[in-house]
Amino acid sequence: MNTKHKANPHLYWNPYFGGFLLGIIIIFTFYLTGRGLGASGAMKSSVVTVVENVAPKHAESNSYYSQFIKEGDSPMNTWLVFEALGILIGAFISGSISGRIKWRVQHSPKITTKRRLIFALIGGVLFGLGAQIARGCTSGAALSGMAVLSTGGFLTMLAIFGSAYAFAYFFRKNWI
């Protein structure tokens, strides 16, 4: 079994099985905490922490950062940051079991590593910006929102996938 995984590191779970387990995790999360999953919140906390340490006066005067700064408590001490830490651990365990841990840049053979990294950076900037405007990303707004039939969650999901399909043609060289 182990050698088979090493020969084919792209042997993934059946997507319906993965999706079913993910659904169970979401139910469990709502049952325990009354709220859903998230991911972009941890990156926001990181940015707030960096800015607060580098330029504390600026962070306090900015009306966005200041919402997340509390006297005597780090912005990192939030549920989503601990959850994101767990995501890193969980993904590392799964990757270890299947022999997928390796430093590398994954990209289509048709493009260079440099091009891939530039587009990854642009994609990240856009997603970070969009996730703030919509108050959550695919996990926090779309997936967790849909689990409780939130109107905003459905809207965000449709907007993300709709626009990705609309723009897909222009970026096809990066992927196919």
Binding site: G123, G130, C137, T151, W175, I176
Partner: protein
Amino acid sequence: MGPLIPGGYIPMEWDSIIAIFIGIAFGFVLEASGFSSSRKLAGVFYGYDFAVLKVFFTAAAVSVIGIYYMDYLGYLDISQLYVHPTYLWGAIIGGVIMGAGFVTGGFCPGTSLCAVAIGKLDAWVYVIGIMIGVFIFSELFNLFEPIYDGYNFGNITLIDSFGWNPYWVIFVFAIIAVVAFGIADMVRKRVKSVFY
């Protein structure tokens, strides 16, 4: 009786510990489903791999059915759950920008963390990009504030918005998901294979 922590059945001190364990389960399932691969994720937009669609919609259907069933059985009080607020234009404009980022970068924040954990350098760059994006938003907050804080409809659900029966909504949603899975498999057979 649920949710347990807001209801006081589990002390608040456990909140962070539970967050880590939920994160571990979340990260494990995403990585094992192949979500640490940007080329696999992008496949859904080009028809060569529909893992995103299948995992995402199976998870959404299972969770919404489970949550409403637990409410029906009395184990969970839906009215106490946090409903993501609806800021109409924020949700749409933010979503469109995220979609552009998804197809450009090949990840979303959660999946990029999974790829970071297994050593994909493009994902490290992507996460740095997310932070730059958050930084730009914060610095230009005054510019974005009208859409960020405007058009607020509160923490509404489809039930509040349209007066639909939730059980019918879930039933129809499940049917749509199953039909989408069937169409995805048909498209997949017609599209040229991409190996990654």
